[in-house]
Amino acid sequence: MFGWEFPPHNSGGLGTACLGITKSLSKKKTKVTFVLPKKIEGAESFLRIVSPETPYISFYSVDSPLSPYLDGKKYESYSTKGDSVYGRSLYEEVSRYSDFGWYIAGKEDFDVIHAHEWLSFGAGIKAKERSGKPFIAHIHATEFDRTGGEGINPRVYAIEKRGMEMADRVVAVSNLTKSIVVKHYGIPEEKVEVVHNGVEFEEEEGEFREVSKMKEHGKKMVLFVGRITLQKGPDYFIRAAKRVCEVCRDTFFVISGSGDMQCQMMEQVAREGLSDRVFFTGFMRGEKLRSLYRSADLFVMPSVSEPFGITPLESLINGTPVLISKQSGSSEVLMHALKVDFWDIDDMANKMICALNYDSLNRCLKENGRREVFSINWDKTADKLIKIYNNL
């Protein structure tokens, strides 16, 4: 299995998904050799690491002198800005990784090649060429999601398209993503399987300290978590917040995350006169983020295009009901969620107000949603993947 990042050295959903998938596959006695394009700290290059917790997973990492670990922001600028300063080195790295795919295919014994995201498709293709084994391209997001359909990077697009064409099977994280793959990449429908993501649970308690004072005064909190980029729809969130503030005096909004639209969003908030109602926390993770979820009365994911979107699932696990855009993969698996078209500001504001003010609605969403989210787990994802492996 070729990946690009892996916890704890991950910046986003891809690493989390790879962890969830490999863990559940290994539980189900499917042996996974996981290959990463970077040197894992403390390990020699080309050294196999067998983790004691997951006996069926072994790791390979390739030392890459050019790159320190890619963090989220840089990854963003790589993938959306193409020929930026980082551009060349990223493509070089992708190419190096491909060569490594050829190398590893000669060394390892395996039945299926499974590559995540365009960054590792080259390695997958090379491994297929050398071994003749079937190759699965797993799509977690496309260039169309990352850019909102405008300013598609032709090089990234070409790599994505070639990877999917060369693959024996394409796995998409949602029907939404599948439809993009079919429509924009010309991949035949029957070649694409939808396998939804899962989520892991941690039982914790406690609210976010900094907002507990406001909550004590009976104020209601609406939360946005995600990169502050076009894809995540923060501007729609702020416009809906404006409408809510016109009628609900006791509501405040928290935006947790960072991204290239942050300055623009802060200016928009100031311009609308909402500086005392909308707060930016910056990027947060771990226990702090989870306590923020627990403090909120409603979580909103207004994404313009969201291949899956794991944040609403995390919110539900932490006991906060969710309002999500219909343009998201998770809206395909969550029945107990409020849903809106991301562009329908009036309806978004309407549902925010109702979820905050009709207590019975809030509690039903919260309780049913929490029950539902427990059924969306990585074991189900792994079961579907194993079925696909067996049918190759």
Binding site: M335, C354, D359
Partner: protein, 414 residues
């Protein structure tokens, strides 16, 4: 000997259109959904009329001519009659033709197809009276047998029906309440001698209403002669076969393509081949058969879902919240004496609103979502509660205005 008692329920709710928080105080036309879709009540009425009511009525009229001794029973909610008058007068006319044969009995129920029995006994009685008047006005017949909304039944429902002058009442044939008794006889409600109780034969009813087109069912495809055989098999250990179902079964729930119309067309002929069988109205059954035993139903049962209780409407917190909020303003609403406000309030009592808010079968079951015009129970709740909030504002405004006026006249009078 078994007499087949067909009773068809005819009902369409006034669905609340998509109504947002921002509409409160600005828009009081809650039921005026537009466009081609299930929230446009006129559109739905016409669609169901075309697919179901009109073709089925025509077929039944032919059957009644062919088999002059045949009897059938119908029950209409007041709100479906209102919608026929407004949106599809030809449908109303074709029902009139059926009733005019003298072979069709009409039952009594609440005008607003409401759950008022559970929440306000006074309001319940008013709505039963309203429905009776509406039926008399449109069809010149007076209902003698009562069916409560969604086949709600309990000892108390029977008592209320008896007190309002009905001589028969309907209930679901819930197994654990029947015990060893079969639904194929007429019974006495607990402690009452002057009203008879019909129990739905839910196996045979649901074979038509739900399982008819389900290819996974071992009896599929269901043919008229097979069904007639099942009816004849009851000979000797049953007097009535109570086939109770939604009239929309024909052509709407079961599409024409499933063969449901051919089935209905051939059924009377097949059943009547056995000269011991016949089709009669509920009042005829009351005349002909005696009550065999007394049945105790201490709590309210219904014909919905596998639970056969009221949980399809009252099972979750949103449903209970919405219901209690509707009924808690009863006194104020009536005090306004404003015809439109009272009518809108009553339309908000239609049971379907609360059914759409049901969450218990989401995921595995499809029944609630099949019948719901909303994307989710939460959407149903939001539009409903916003509309109710607007109604409350109207009530307050009206009462304040009235109180102001009263003060003035009071002052003037001294």
């Amino acid at each position: 000997m078994p007499s087949v008692c067909f009773y068809f329920q005819v009902h369409q709710p006034f669905r609340v259109k998509k109504y947002t928080f921002f509409d409160i105080g600005r828009d009081s036309s809650y039921f005026a959904g537009e466009g081609e879709g299930d929230l446009n009540n006129e559109w739905v009425m016409r669609k169901v009329a075309d697919k179901s009511y009109i073709p089925t009525n025509k077929m039944l009229l032919d059957l009644l001519r062919e088999y002059p001794s045949m009897g059938i029973s119908f029950s209409f909610s007041g709100v479906v009659l209102e919608q026929m008058e407004k949106y599809s007068p030809e449908t109303l006319e074709s029902f009139r033709e059926l009733v005019n044969t003298g072979r069709v009995e009409l039952l009594g129920e609440t005008y607003y197809h409401s759950l008022a029995f559970l929440y306000s006994r006074e309001e319940f009685k008013r709505q039963v009276d309203m429905q009776r008047k509406k039926v008399e006005e449109l069809f010149s017949v007076t209902p003698q047998v009562f069916r409560c909304t969604e086949l709600f039944y309990s000892n108390e429902v029977a008592r209320a029906a008896r007190d309002m002058g009905f001589k028969g009442v309907l209930g679901e044939g819930v197994d654990h309440l029947l015990g060893w008794r079969s639904p194929n006889f007429i019974y006495r409600p607990q402690g009452l001698n002057d009203i008879k109780l019909f129990k739905k034969n839910y196996r045979l009813s649901d074979d038509i209403a739900f399982r008819f087109s389900s290819s996974g069912w071992k009896e599929h495809p269901l043919t008229a002669d097979k069904f007639a055989r099942w009816v004849s098999q009851l000979n000797g250990n049953g007097e009535v076969v109570n086939l109770f179902m939604d009239y929309e079964t024909f052509g709407e729930h079961q599409w024409e393509e499933t063969g449901i119309f051919n089935f209905l067309r051939s059924l009377p002929g097949e059943v009547l081949k056995d000269s011991d069988n016949d089709f009669i109205t509920l009042s005829e059954a009351i005349e002909r058969y005696k009550a065999h035993d007394e049945i105790d139903v201490p709590y309210v049962t219904s014909w919905a879902d596998t639970e056969r209780d009221t949980s399809a409407w009252t099972g979750n917190e949103m449903q209970r919240d919405a219901l209690s909020k509707v009924y808690e303003i009863e006194e104020d609403v009536l005090r306004t004496k404003d015809k439109d406000i009272i009518d809108d309030w009553r339309k908000l009592q239609i049971s379907d609103h609360f059914y759409y808010m049901g969450t218990k079968t989401m995921g595995d079951g499809v029944v609630h979502s099949y019948f719901s015009p909303y994307d989710s129970p939460y959407e149903a709740f939001i539009s409903f509660m916003n509309a109710l909030s607007d109604l409350k504002l109207r009530v307050e405004k009206k009462l304040n205005y009235k109180d102001e006026k009263n003060k003035v006249t009071f002052r003037q009078s001294i």
